[in-house]
Symmetry: none
Subunit: 203 residues, 4 copies
DNA sequence: TATGAATGAGTGTTCATTCAT
DNA sequence: GATGAATGAACACTCATTCAT
């Protein structure tokens, strides 16, 4: 039974920062903007965060760890690389559609991190992308996929899916599960997956 | 016979801003950073620009106008929508690979513009994307393409190609002309172009 | 029993600005000058003010409102226009002698205000001057005063009295109450007030 | 026969500065404002002036010297202190009405001068005011004037006349010669001049 | 004579952050 | 917890002035 619980101050700060960093960028967002959005004084903010950069790093790490865990779970025990990729794409698209703020921050604000923090975040992102690389490489090896430059193709598909966070609206024409399927189809065909090619989309 | 001509101060400012806006973002770049990069005092900068925002807007407009002109020229007189899309993708990829700074600024810094300027820039971008939309829609109508959600697919492919600016290096394994072809192949297969599907990539 | 109370920071800012605007003018005073005089950093200043112009406007409005209130009180219920003018002159002179900074700012810095703010300040000043105009016009009507151009004369007398703020010193030869009387005499005689003419000053 | 002679650049600079210093104040006027008003580049300005402050000082000195010369000529050989004062007031008012820019700069911008230059300008002003002081003192001695504090009265009358520069318009109701007479009348009555008192103004 | 280019110092204002209460 | 007060450093931008051409 859902109770109308007011989120904690800490949570309000997190959400405020996420929203603003996503909308205006890290450098375009002032600590006072965050405070106002979280309905706190800027001094009070510092009860719930370290520096502004640590706040950003925390948000990014958290989002990436959640995505990585979800993706690992989604492909665990699945042998077929085609199915693995399908699930990875669907999860990626769904996540970018449902949490556009988190994903936009992750995708766009890495450069705002100090080198030290950046390395940690990039390592997480690399771990995540490795799941994609493994699925693609396995598919190429098994003959399910046919692509000249698997690494390039992986980057292309990741970017393609990232884009969802920039325009998806829950009020749009295509429902989210159909959207995820659509993207999976795009990806598989792009990868030269023969079965997908046969039954190319048709109204 | 190429003469070693030192670029003008005005040009140095333009290039400095482009490089820094692309690397650190508009809000992450100080006017003093630009000045230093252009080997000028920050006061001298203002001989060659209006405000910092006008500098950004000028760069974006210029890049978009050039891209739009090149794309219009590339598809002019070409009836086959498949060929049109192939050329658009190739041009887009090539441009993003060769002028990554310009394209990253165009793709990422729109939100830094004031509403008024933003409108003008977005209009240019829309004009450009319309060329993609026309090629895709024509292809769908002619039966050359098969995709359930052409508008979504267009966005997906554009984002896919934008990504090139983030990672391409001229010292990479894939030469640029091959890269452009590769992306064209990805796009056409994703669009369900039957011929492309038949001869799926294979070494 | 007077306690040695240190004025608040807000009050220190107000006084510092008043002193400096009066001495060096609004445009001749830097925000850092104000900060130094108020023993604060220039950043701290902004806890107690909006913009520099709003600081000026606030000071002017406050001074004018106080003067207007005092003048209204001074003439309230006084029927005789001669007595009214005498009181207005005495109050004006006394105020300019005691608060030379406030009055100099009010008299000299109107042009530094933005049109919008200027209008509000000028309206206050006009309200105040109307008290003078009424006294003079009533006196002319009653035959107590005789002057060809009452409006011009009003301006002349106001300027005459404003001057006090520029040179009066409490260590000067003429005590303030005598000074006020002296100016009242000058004004009444200038206005052709017959009684004042009869007993023209003589030691 | 008047020829339509375009004023020299030097003269244009002088006039531009005068106009702007009078309107916006010395510190409120930028050297680029002057340049624009004079239709020159700001660099070219420096062919016709030293520093900005020297430009101001020159304008003030010139205006004061001309006023001093005119005043000296006006009272030369006139024995009657009443007549001397009458002429001084008339000249002062006329000058402030006809050259409001010059006189406003002289009256308001002394504080913008460096101490050294200020001393020279103040000396000129003192020389000028001495003519007033002599007329008043002579009048008091001769019994033509009756005022308790001649020095104070002199300041009061000077300020009164300075005000003309702030509001006089050639399109106003009172023609300039009448205005000068009016002010002379105000001054003489304020000074307790018995004859003026007798024939107090009456329509 | 005229000016575009150039700049060190300064403008008003905002920044992220700290700390005493 | 929460915040008003405080600040050094930085922000984008303008200043008066110089100089090579």
């Amino acid at each position: 039974m859902a109770v109308n619980t007011e989120p904690t101050s800490r949570e309000r700060v997190r959400r405020a920062a996420l929203k603003l960093f996503a909308t205006k960028g890290f450098h375009g967002t002032g600590i006072r903007d965050v405070a106002q959005e979280a309905r706190l004084s800027s001094a009070s903010l510092y009860h719930y965060m370290g520096t502004k950069e640590e706040l950003l790093a925390g948000l990014m790490r958290e989002a990436l760890e959640r995505l990585l865990a979800a993706a690992s779970a989604a492909v665990a025990g699945v042998d077929d690389p085609v199915e693995r990729l399908r699930r990875l794409v669907a999860l990626h698209v769904t996540t970018h559609a449902r949490q556009p703020d988190e994903t936009r921050v992750v995708d766009n604000e890495v450069r705002a991190l100090s080198p030290r923090t950046r390395r940690a975040v990039v390592r997480l992102r690399d771990d995540y992308e490795r799941l994609w690389a493994e699925a693609i490489d396995d598919g190429v090896r098994s003959g399910a996929f046919a692509t000249d430059h698997p690494a390039v193709t992986r980057l292309a598909l990741l970017e393609m899916c990232n884009g969802v966070a920039r325009w998806y609206s829950p009020r749009g024409a295509v429902p989210l599960d159909r959207l995820a399927e659509h993207y999976a189809g795009l990806a598989l065909r792009a990868l030269g997956h023969t079965e997908s090619l046969a039954r190319a989309e048709r109204p």
